[in-house]
Amino acid sequence: MTDQAYTFAYLDEQTKRMIRRALLKALAVPGYQVPFASREMPMPYGWGTGGVQVTAACLVPEDRLKVIDQGADDTTNAVSIRRFFARTAGVATTEATAEATLIQTRHRIPEQPLREGQILVYQVPIPEPLRFLEPRETETRKMHELEEYGLMHVKLYEDIARHGTIATSYAYPVKVEGRYVMDPSPIPKFDNPKLSGNAAIQLFGAGREQRIYALPPYTAVVSLDFDDHPFTASKPGHACDLCGAAHSYLDEVITDDAGGRMFVCSDTDFCAGRRREGHQGRLGGQA
């Protein structure tokens, strides 16, 4: 049931139009950070206000919404955002990746490949991939404009010199269609390959930083690396203890005080689906 005190999906129509214009611009220039007049939302900055505004601007009554945080549908922030739209937009919700028309996510890309017609909305804390190399917005904007990305590789060089490998494990920077360097939001680098050539529309919203950027379907996205130190999408070398999946991203769960732990899929829908199909991991019978 929609809350009558607010318009559909909370934001007023003018604001939604403003956000849609920013989204269209972002889709037209993939990877470019489009400034937008981010609004205060009833949840705090840093808790997904950018993603929520993008979702609000994209939702139509026929949509079926899925919200995940850390890959899971049942984490508190995911529950809170899903409830917010159930209340303010009255849209149907789902936990099934395949059934969703719009998925808002924090920190993960679902394991199941997305299809044409789906929209994936990322919550972004720091949209600027160069931010921690150069704190000034005025300077980083110039660097993007002039395509001066040498500094980004200096960071990767330093990683290899110090650690023997590129020591960036999440929010791993990418280059979009050979032009803009982009922060993929803090997804694990394991998810980076899914950014490229994805059939779905990928939208990124940063509320506090007032930026929107996007990847249209089938955009080429390359993770930055060196020719002799190529990017690898690594993950812990375990299989899921519940569903036995060997190729999904895993959460480590501490099970007792004695150092006991288990590894389970971070994508809860993916894991449940596999178990329904009869797959079983090391502890699949007990959990």
């Binding site: 705090p44 899971a72 508190t76 023997g164 997804i187």
Partner: protein, 376 residues
């Protein structure tokens, strides 16, 4: 076992119920009413209106009540509400020279036309706890204070700005009315470099504590501007809106404002003879500390247009000041680190483990070689 790790709907519901109970407190204590907060916590209400950028004392009082007295949380509630409100019109600029004054002081002139009006201020109180306020049912004696009365008997007085007196002599830089409509920070993203109008907007809704500290740092030598309070005034001004159908402006209400204009020293520049310069502060309600701090920070940020040196002081750094002044942005991002980050942390943990394993392997190899070398 596994689901328990991830929280869920019931946990949220329970937390909200508990919060509501905590907000209400013990049931044998009467519940605060909105009029009580509005009347007796007026300065908190003012701060919430100023930083919430919404002039509505009743809603600000409600927000304070709902937020259990956490003013930043209250500001946040007001901002979230404000953003949903439709815009009917933009008012004409308020005329603070026509302010119905409750207070008006100048630190630069001992006396001046209209005189100094002290008004309701803490300034000269002794900061001693008044235990009679603690006593139940203290007698409501008629107040000894007088409403301000000007010499000619008008109540309340309208007085021109102190800076006008300096302006006559050409001693202070003119502050002409701008030609262009100022940008609206709540409707368009912050663009740097920002013009003065945009800076003032960001500062007036910025966190009082932050602006205070920035202003204080200029006084301590980090971007010193030698500020004097030329005038500090508090009072009510009419808000007028042009009605196109009528062809004239209609007064839609009154708001209380605090205005501060500083007079700052300045020893000439590339193009101008020596003149005093101005810093400006304007804040909703009685918010003197904020208005003064605002005018100091405004003045410090003007170094470029006035041809002064950038000595690298934080208060001279427009981007630093404007990007960190908003407490709703700041508190949200600060507190978001409470949210789960296990995906990222997992990735880090995996990396550290692998690096540690490699380091251990390298060390083991070295140990193996050492005895041989020693034997040679």
């Amino acid at each position: 076992m596994y689901v328990a790790v991830k929280g869920g709907e019931r946990a949220i519901d329970n937390a909200h119920a508990w919060l509501a109970e905590e907000r209400r407190g013990a049931r044998d204590v009467p519940e605060l009413t909105i009029p009580q907060i509005r009347q007796q916590m007026a300065l908190a209400v003012n701060r919430v209106m100023a930083e919430g950028s919404l002039y509505d004392p009743d809603l600000a009082a409600l927000a304070i009540k709902q937020a259990r007295g956490d003013l930043i949380e209250a500001v946040f509630l007001i901002r979230a509400y404000r953003t949903t409100l439709p815009r009917f019109a933009a008012s004409n600029p308020v005329d603070t020279a026509q302010m119905a004054l409750d207070r008006r002081i100048s630190a630069t002139f001992k006396d001046l036309p209209g005189g100094q009006i002290l008004g309701p201020t803490f300034d000269y109180t002794h900061r001693l706890l008044d235990f009679t306020l603690m006593a139940e049912g203290a007698p409501e004696a008629p107040l000894p204070g007088q409403p301000p009365v000007a010499a000619d008997g008008d109540t309340p007085p309208h007085l021109p700005h102190v800076s006008e007196h300096l302006n006559h002599d050409g001693l202070i830089e003119p502050a002409p009315q701008g030609e262009t409509l100022p940008p609206d920070l709540t409707r368009s993203p912050m663009e740097l470099p920002a013009d003065r109008a945009l800076r003032l907007q960001a500062i007036t809704r910025g966190d009082e504590g932050f602006i205070l500290s920035m202003a204080y740092s200029t006084q301590r030598g980090y971007g010193r501007t030698h500020a004097f309070v030329g005038e500090l005034r508090l009072g009510r001004v009419a808000v007028e809106v042009d009605i196109p159908e009528l062809g004239f402006a209609v007064e839609i209400g009154e708001i209380e404002l605090t205005e501060c204009e500083t007079v700052n020293q300045f020893k000439g520049s590339r193009s101008e003879a020596p003149q005093f310069t101005r810093g400006y502060g304007l804040v909703f309600g009685q918010s003197e500390r904020k208005a003064i701090a605002m005018s100091l920070v405004d003045r410090a940020l003007r170094w470029k247009e006035l041809g002064e040196d950038n000595i690298g002081a934080p208060a001279q750094d427009e981007e630093f000041v404007l990007m960190h002044a908003d407490n709703v942005q700041a508190t949200g991002f600060l507190e978001h680190i409470k949210l789960p980050h296990y995906v990222d942390f997992q990735a880090e943990m995996e990396l550290v483990r692998r690096l540690r394993a490699e380091a251990a392997a390298a060390e083991a190899q070295q140990h193996q070689q050492q005895p041989q070398e020693a034997a040679e």
